[in-house]
């Protein structure tokens, strides 16, 4: 088992490196560079060329890639061209906001999707099933920005319940204050700001997961061992949750992991609508300014997070499904 994890962890390095190299080449190949963006519309082509050469952007791409990789090997992500701050610091500053939103959204999604999916599978073709599949269809097809704006118009504008935009106090900071002093206002501020963006992302993600839980459950419910469980007189609740759901979870965990990775990679649209200061917006700004080091930094972190999540999902298979565990043991 440990050997499996070690092997998988070792594979992360070439994946992340590969992503970095591909992105490096792509971002350098598309037209436009930071020198031009920096000097703006007023600069002459000669001035831009001068700055381009001063920034070392006129060197062959292979040379630039080499020096980038060399710095990366030393753990140096460089300095953002436009913000003048170390890339690592900028990315780490935005990462908590992204994590907070991703965790909250995923929590909402799972809390809605798992019960809903199970119920619609157990009561297939019932009213609940039709309604939940209707919700899933709606959630999958509804554009995120539209849902976001809709929530803002109702919760902020019409009912004045929640702040329309921005991030309040960091959640953990609010929680710490509550535990230390008993003052609940910072945590409330954090939750009030978090509610709408998390709902927006959570509902659309829930829609996807609900469908997955339902179809996976339906498949499992028709298996022999479920019939056997019922036949031996196990209570229906135990049949569904202990025997069926646990076996149905494998594909669900995969999709949850992938979705979680996508959320952590930055939900750009939601972050833009709710002015949420996450890593997605940082990356988009960096790309539109051709801030090469910052783009690389964002991509590196996202690729790393994605790879680690994938690993976590694979490891969790072995916890959920003993067959996988044994399979690994046999292969080894």
């Amino acid at each position: 088992m440990l050997g499996y994890i070690a092997k998988r962890t070792a594979l992360i390095l070439p994946v992340v490196l590969g992503v970095c190299v591909i992105v490096f080449v792509l971002i350098h190949l598309i037209p436009g560079d930071p020198a031009m963006v920096m000097l703006g519309q007023d600069a002459s082509p000669e001035e831009v060329a001068r700055l381009r050469s001063a920034m070392g952007l006129d060197r062959p791409l292979a040379v630039q890639l080499g020096s980038f990789l060399l710095r990366l090997a030393h753990g140096d992500l460089g300095v953002s061209i436009f913000q003048g701050e170390p890339v690592s610091r900028l990315v780490l500053k935005q990462l908590p906001a992204t994590c907070e939103l991703a965790v909250a959204s995923m929590l909402i999604a799972v809390l809605i999707a798992v019960p809903l999916g199970v119920i619609s599978a157990v009561k297939q073709h019932s009213l609940v099933d039709v309604a939940s599949m209707g919700f899933a269809q709606l959630g999958v097809s509804m554009p995120v920005f539209w849902l976001g704006v809709l929530l803002i118009l109702n919760f902020s504008l019409r009912w004045g319940l929640l702040p329309s935009v921005g991030r309040g106090k960091p959640f953990l900071e609010g929680l710490a204050v509550l535990l230390r002093t008993g003052d609940y206002l910072p945590l409330a501020d954090s939750l009030r700001h978090l509610t709408m963006p998390a709902l927006t992302l959570g509902l659309t993600t829930a829609a996807l997961i609900t469908r997955m839980v339902r179809s996976s459950m339906l498949e499992v419910l028709h298996q022999d061992y479920v019939r056997t469980a019922r036949a031996k007189g196990a209570p229906e609740r135990a049949v569904i949750y202990r025997h069926a759901l646990r076996n149905a979870l494998l594909p669900v965990v995969t999709i949850v992991g992938m979705q979680f990775g996508a959320l952590l990679g930055g939900a750009v649209v939601t972050e833009t609508v709710f002015a949420w200061p996450g890593i997605g917006r940082l990356a988009i700004t960096a790309i539109s300014q051709r801030d090469f080091p910052l783009v690389q930094g964002c991509v590196l972190v996202v690729a790393l997070v994605f790879s680690l999540l994938n690993l976590a999902v694979d490891v969790s298979y072995t916890l959920i499904d003993p067959r996988v565990r044994h399979g690994i043991a046999q292969r080894q």
Binding site: I30, P31, G32, D33, M36, V37, M38, L39, G40, Q41, D42, A43, S44, P45, E47, R50, L51, A54, F82, Q83, G84, E85, L90, K93, Q94, L111, F145, G148, V149, I152, L153, S156, L157, G160, L162, P163, S164, V165, G166, R167, L178, Y184, L185, L187, A188, D189, L191, R192, T195, T272, V273, F274, A275, P277, R281, L282, T285, S288, Q289, R290
Partner: protein
């Protein structure tokens, strides 16, 4: 089962805390009911790139600089230079200007403003290694000399009339800026009415009143810029009371709703910018002025203004915009007239010889590509609208929309036929015309060239008499309009919407926030 109860209880506590927060915040836990808190929250579309006035490039950076810094002069809403850090100035000869500084002005770090700071600010700005985006505007400055503590002299390499209009750039303290190096852009120190106290990138910038401000302590204790990228959401945040003031860019569709809201005030003025079609005069098809004129006659500016921009931006004519002192309504531009367009095209030899509905010449079809950038949805609509008009006139028109750096790269390299883009912050007619239309102009993307225009633009720079300059620029503007180097589609409007409780805000064509020093919350 117990696990379920735990989850339910946690959820209930979180909901209760959230709801409690709603009540807590709406009643304003710390503010006494009688005196409103003197805090202004402003919604901006993008984060500022820097707070260093010498490097300020985007409009948000310039709004930050408005609060934190002062220039030697400030431009009033009529764009006339008024005393700021300089109390007076005189022109000794055509290439020498002398400024007397205000005495006893304090920077936010407590140090006093001297002529050395002014010299340092302009010396660094002019140093190519400093990478200042607007360096070219100051290029005619040969030397800045600190004569004594309160007197500074600008020596120019040639007479340069627009100089005063550009001297509103913020003065930085030499010692602090040198010590801070690159970090000065995030921890600025100026002489302005507000100190920048906190900057969370992509989220918010917080300012506090500077008690030693030379212009008197600002009434507002705190100003917060909140970065809200989406135009409609920014408008909703204003309506919901989450911000107190927003300004252009705004979606035209949101403005009637804001105007109808009794809690809000919406003000509009002519901005110092225009939206235009750049014609690549070096292009084999477009180098024929008759083709350019024909295309100009196919641009229905009125419809573009009234439908796409819903009247927020008005139909344009020339690079001299209405907010400029050189503006003239008498400049004649090619009007929307498809019949005339066809005549011009026929004169240039473009006729539909094979009856397929597309004009051709020498066996080649007339194809025109229109480019713009994807960041501005209105401009995308403009190019699509023009594509349709061109097609109706028998031109095979294509549209290419890419994000700004790619688009700008293509335009700068001359890799385009027609491109829709805009100019902003045109505080002087020289700023709107010299770089754009002089054959050696830095931003003459379309390679337009006319010796008479070159001569006029040189003369406009060297002449200080404002009436004389008006004549010069109007003549030059009429020529570039006639020869269709640009087709100015729209004069940009500048809209500010704010809560009725905000009092004392003065709208400025250059979008300046300088009046926040006098704003109060009722």
């Amino acid at each position: 089962m117990r696990k379920n109860k735990l989850v339910l209880a946690t959820a209930l506590v979180l909901v209760l805390v959230t709801m409690a927060g709603c009540r807590g915040s709406s009643s304003g836990p710390s503010a006494p009911a009688s005196e409103p808190r003197q805090e202004l929250r402003v919604g901006l579309d993008v984060d500022a790139g820097t707070a260093d006035p010498r490097l300020a490039r985007d409009t948000s950076a310039r709004r930050v600089v408005d609060l934190v810094f002062n220039g030697l002069v400030w431009l009033d809403p009529e764009l006339k230079p008024q005393p700021a850090l300089a109390t007076s100035w005189r022109q000794i000869d055509p290439t020498t200007w002398e400024f007397t500084l205000r005495e006893g002005v304090k920077f936010h770090d407590g140090s006093e403003l001297t002529a050395e700071d002014v010299k340092y600010t302009y010396d660094t700005l002019l140093d190519p290694a400093f990478k200042a985006p607007y360096r070219s505007l100051y290029a005619p400055i040969k030397e800045v000399i600190a004569l004594d503590k309160y007197h500074v002299r600008f020596v120019l390499s040639q007479p340069y009339a627009p100089l005063l209009s550009y001297l509103d750039m913020g003065i930085v303290p030499r010692a602090a800026a040198q010590a801070a190096g690159d970090s000065f852009g995030t921890k600025p120190i100026g002489t302005g009415p507000f100190k920048l106290v906190k900057w969370e990138k992509n989220n918010r910038i917080e300012f506090e009143a500077f008690p030693d401000y030379w212009g008197g302590v600002p009434k507002l204790e705190k100003v917060t810029f909140l970065i809200i990228p989406d135009n409609t959401v920014r408008a909703a945040a204003l309506e919901a009371g989450d911000v107190d003031l927003i300004h252009s860019p705004l979606s035209a569709q949101d403005i009637p709703r804001l105007q109808a809201n009794p809690k809000l005030k919406v003000e509009k003025t002519n901005a110092l910018g225009f939206t235009y079609v750049s014609f690549n005069c070096a292009d084999p098809i477009l180098k024929d002025v008759r083709v350019r004129r024909a295309l100009a006659h196919l641009i229905d500016k009125k419809t573009i203004s009234s439908t796409i921009y819903q009247g927020m931006d008005t139909p344009g004519k020339s690079p001299l915009v209405p907010a400029m002192w050189a503006y003239s309504d008498e400049i004649k531009d090619p009007e929307y007239d498809p019949a005339r367009a066809r005549e011009f095209l026929a004169q240039a030899g473009w006729k539909d010889t094979d009856g397929d509905g597309v004009l051709d010449r020498g066996g080649k079809k007339l194809t025109i590509s229109l480019k713009t950038h994807s960041e501005d949805p209105n401009r995308i609509q403009v190019v699509e609208f023009l594509q349709n008009e061109f097609r109706k006139a028998g031109i095979e028109a294509t549209v290419e929309t890419t994000e700004w750096p790619t688009f700008r790269d293509a335009v700068q390299k001359g890799d385009y036929q027609l491109a829709v883009l805009g100019w902003l912050a045109l505080v002087d007619p020289d700023r709107a015309m010299y770089n754009q239309f002089h054959s050696r102009g830095a931003s003459n993307d379309g390679k337009y060239s006319n010796p008479r225009v070159d001569e006029l633009l040189e003369k406009g720079r060297a002449t200080t008499d404002i009436e004389e300059r008006k004549k010069i620029y109007r003549e030059a503007a009429q020529i570039v309009v006639d020869e269709v180097a640009y087709a100015v589609i729209l004069y940009q409007g500048y809209v500010v919407a704010y809560n009725q409780k905000v009092s004392g805000f003065q709208i400025h064509p250059n979008a300046s926030f300088a009046s926040l020093a006098r704003v109060t919350i009722k």
